[in-house]
């Protein structure tokens, strides 16, 4: 797949940046003229990935979140959200709907949202090293 455009963004894991991260991705993708539904889906999935970094990866600390958003030919986009936080011990369990270690106010649906709103979701993680989430979606062809 040929890459057509790309941006990198590094932000600190303050919760106020959740909105900034999804808005930045959404503004970049706007050049493809996505549907409102596609844009909402991507914003929501990115918001989940960023929130995971803030709530889980850097639970009691502040660290860096690295975002790479890339546009490929055939209207395919990828968003990579990477942290150098605590890592996930059991990815399979973490991805189960309703599973959470985040307390009673967390729904445990972050990965379920990413999976259902995007075409592909890849998660790579190592305890003590960090986690990388890659989200991929092919946008519909606008006539």
């Amino acid at each position: 797949m040929k890459s057509l455009n790309k941006f990198n963004l590094t932000v600190t894991s303050n919760s106020a940046n959740e909105s900034f991260i999804r808005s930045a991705v959404s503004a970049f993708i706007a050049q493809l003229d996505p549907t409102i539904e596609e844009l909402s889906d991507i914003k929501t999935a990115v918001s989940e990935a960023a929130t995971n970094c803030i709530v889980h990866a850097y639970k009691d600390t502040i660290g860096k979140i690295f975002i790479t958003c890339e546009i490929f030919e055939n209207r395919t986009i990828t968003v990579k959200v990477r942290d150098r936080g605590c890592g996930i011990e059991n990815i399979k369990q973490a991805m189960e709907p309703l599973f959470t270690t985040g307390g009673s106010e967390r729904a445990g649906l972050g990965f379920a949202v990413m999976e259902s709103f995007m075409d592909k979701l890849y998660v790579k993680s190592k305890v003590g090293v960090g986690t990388t989430v890659l989200l991929k979606k092919k946008l519909s062809v606008r006539i």
């Binding site: 959740e18 909402s40 729904a107 649906l109 949202v113």
Partner: protein
Amino acid sequence: MSVRTESNERVLTVYLDGEIDHHTAKGMREVIDKSINELMPEVLVLDFKDVTFMDSSGIGLVMGRYKELKKCGGELHIINTTPHITKVMKLSGIERLAKLGKAEK
């Protein structure tokens, strides 16, 4: 993000406004729980008409309020959700706990 509440003897209506994510949900939760504890409503109505974005933190917010409400035996209604918010809600199966619908005239 802002929260406005309106109440009569039985019904507490909460008008949510803006974006609901992990960052904003905390403030919303505090306002709603304060009203629930003061009023012990029979019905809590959460109005999503002016909510422009919501991720799964919104589900956590709704589920948490459902649990609070159950303590005083109340019922939860969720109204005026946009297609995007309905999609997020349905993923959680929350419609089994709360009534989803439009505003009653």
